[in-house]
């Protein structure tokens, strides 16, 4: 059973610490939603796990291996990121962008092999962008671009998939589409999925577990039912909220008090 374990992870930019003593564990096939107010350190955590920002303390272990000490190429074969701001160079085609996801598997001297193309194609089919393969990404809508980036991440054949605010800038239909896609992929491919979400209700619906981050520390983690309590959320977010029940599913619904 594969798993990602974060043990007392700490990181920051220069002298300012952003994350302090973050400990988490996510299993293969599981989707963990990371919630918390702005500045809590959600994006920073993604950066640390993907290796862009060095950790000042703690460890990250993937199936026991020390993730943070891996060279970038090897880490990229295990960890893939769908970033929040998607700036794709306009002139490349969807196919070319998705094939970039094969970079970690290619050496300096080689180009993409047939196998690489097959993996990329499979990733494109999984995110339903295969019909767009010849289109230039500059011509695509925001939702389509995000699915292209998701396909690129899948083409890396990762064990861990990190998504930073995947539903930002999308309309409701596409939000739901992406979340359902991610949950389906997690189960199909036994991926360890960590995604940051602003919308607590989406977290409740589409994540298996939730971790609540405040000022760089995990203040609660577990199922949505356990973590989403009105006093806790009101304190963490600094606004009064009330927690109710979703009428159709066995998950909580978080609503602002509205006074």
């Amino acid at each position: 059973m594969s798993s990602l374990e974060l043990i007392s992870l700490a990181a920051g930019y220069g002298p300012r610490p952003i994350l302090r003593d973050v400990s988490l564990s996510v299993a293969g096939g599981e989707v963990l939603a990371l919630a918390g107010p702005n500045g809590a350190g959600k994006s920073t955590l993604i950066r640390v796990i993907s290796g862009v920002l060095p950790a000042t303390a703690g460890q990250a272990r993937l199936d026991g291996a020390d993730l943070l000490r891996l060279p970038a190429g090897q880490r990229a074969r295990r960890v893939a990121v769908v970033p929040q701001m998607i700036h794709l160079p306009d002139a490349y085609t969807v196919g070319e962008i998705v094939l970039m996801g094969r970079s970690p598997h290619l050496g300096l001297w080689s180009g993409e092999s047939r196998h690489d193309c097959e993996v990329a194609w499979g990733a494109m089919r999984a995110t339903h962008v295969e019909e767009l393969s010849e289109r230039r990404v500059g011509e695509l809508s925001g939702g389509e671009q995000q699915r292209v980036v998701l396909a690129r991440a899948l083409a890396q054949e990762p064990q861990v998939l990190l998504l930073d605010e995947p539903t930002a800038h999308l309309d409701l239909k596409h939000q739901v589409g992406v979340l359902e896609l991610v949950r389906g992929l997690a189960q199909e491919r036994n991926l360890i999925v960590l995604m940051t979400l602003h919308d607590l209700n989406q977290a409740a619906l589409y994540a298996d577990r939730v971790a609540l981050l405040q000022q760089g520390q995990i203040v609660a983690q577990g199922s949505a039912n356990d973590v989403f309590r009105s006093e806790l959320l009101s304190r963490v977010y600094g606004v009064p909220v009330t927690v109710s029940r979703h009428p159709l599913r066995d998950v909580p619904v978080v609503l602002p008090d509205g006074k």
């Binding site: 950066r47 993907s50 290796g51 862009v52 970038a72 190429g73 090897q74 880490r75 990229a76 074969r77 295990r78 960890v79 893939a80 990121v81 970033p83 700036h87 794709l88 160079p89 306009d90 002139a91 490349y92 196919g95 070319e96 998705v98 094939l99 970039m100 996801g101 970079s103 970690p104 290619l106 300096l108 001297w109 180009g111 993409e112 047939r114 193309c117 097959e118 993996v119 990329a120 194609w121 499979g122 089919r125 999984a126 295969e130 393969s133 010849e134 500059g138 890396q156 054949e157 990762p158 064990q159 199909e188 491919r189 036994n190």
Partner: protein, 368 residues
């Protein structure tokens, strides 16, 4: 080890999947067509440039003389000895040098455009022009003596000047192990401006130096026979190889740097290698040919429009296209007002201005 679960596909449909998957690779037919056309353009340009000149040598004579040199077979017609001198000691070296210069400038230009993710980037961006100009001016004004190998001091001084300036820029821009792009640009502008100002100051101190330095900067063929070609060649080969090896990484770099790092690219090393390689190539050709502008801009952009942004193809195509372009520009420069020669940089600039207008209008459909 991750489990790559591909969707189970029945055997009959599997070929269809494979065929469609293969379509992801850049189409060989389309790529070949453009490559062939570019190579053809180069050959035609070279042929024209060897045959045409301020002195008319008929094509038949060219062929006969070349055959004579290669095989020793004397031709039936006795051509004036001046023809042979012009052909083998002036024109052929000139055409070859222009080809190498165009190739280096275009390839370096394409690399810089990718590196800085900016369509206005050209090979002179990080201080090569200013440094080479300073070096050349110092050599010209202070009449530095000829050195060993029979080379005049000017190319060596220009080359060293260019390398030192870019080295200074890179050192100034390095923060920790990385070289942020915006900082590099600023450092290039700042240090380049300083070098240019100093150059102007020295130029004005000596009227003779002013004229000669200005001539040098205008760029163009400065004679020298085959020596410059043989000297430039290793730099070109090494530079092109280094750039081509990093072309795929350059593609990935077009995403932002953070995404490139997350895809496993060693961004800092790629940037450094590209800057060094492009600088070596550019400095080598500038040392002998002066500051010829627009080649590093026009050629990569045109080929990007025609062949797409993939640097693995763009770099070699730019090299070949740059060679053809500069050969033709030099041909125009030495024939249009013969026997007077225009500086090549003037011809490339005249070609460049309308090109930019064209590019601006085309940018509705972004090509970057």
């Amino acid at each position: 080890m991750s489990e790559a679960i591909t969707n189970p596909v029945p055997a009959a449909a599997r070929t269809e999947v494979i065929d469609r998957a293969d379509r992801l690779r850049p189409s060989p037919r389309r790529g070949l067509g453009l490559a062939a056309a570019t190579v053809a353009a180069l050959l035609v340009a070279a042929l024209l440039a060897v045959v045409i000149g301020s002195v008319a040598i008929p094509p038949g004579a060219v062929l006969a003389l070349v055959l004579e040199r290669l095989t020793g077979l004397r031709s039936a017609v006795a051509y004036p000895p001046a023809y042979a001198t012009i052909l083998f000691d002036i024109r052929l070296p000139r055409v070859t040098l222009m080809a190498l210069t165009g190739a280096a400038l275009a390839a370096a230009g394409a690399s810089y455009q990718g590196l800085f993710r900016n369509p206005l980037a050209d090979p002179y961006l990080v201080g090569v022009a200013a440094g080479a100009g300073l070096g050349a001016t110092l050599a010209l004004v202070f009449n530095l003596p000829s050195t060993f190998v029979g080379l005049s001091a000017v190319p060596i001084s220009a080359f060293v000047g260019a390398l030192l300036t870019v080295g200074l820029v890179v050192l100034s821009a390095r923060v920790g192990g990385s070289m942020p792009i915006s900082t590099t640009l600023l450092a290039g502008v700042a240090i380049g401006s300083f070098a240019s100002a100093f150059t102007t100051f020295i130029m004005l101190r000596s009227p003779d130096g002013l004229r000669r330095s200005f001539n040098w900067m205008l760029g163009g063929y400065a004679g020298g026979g085959w020596d410059p070609v043989l000297i430039i060649l290793p730099y070109l080969v090494v530079g092109m190889a280094a750039v081509q090896l990093n072309a795929r990484a350059l593609n990935v770099l077009q995403l932002d740097e953070e995404q490139a790092r997350q895809l496993g690219i060693n961004v800092d090393r790629v940037k450094l290698v590209l800057v060094v390689a492009a600088t070596l190539m550019t400095a080598a050709v500038v040392a002998f040919g002066g500051l010829i502008g627009f080649v590093g801009l026009i050629v990569p952009h045109s080929l990007r429009l025609l062949g797409g942004p993939d640097y693995r193809r763009l770099i070699p195509l730019s090299a070949i296209g740059g060679a053809a372009f500069l050969i033709l520009a030099d041909l125009v420069a030495r024939t249009v007002v013969a026997p007077q020669e225009l500086p090549v940089g003037v011809v490339t600039a005249i070609a460049g201005a309308p090109f930019f207008v064209f590019l601006l209008r085309r940018l509705k459909r972004s090509v970057f």
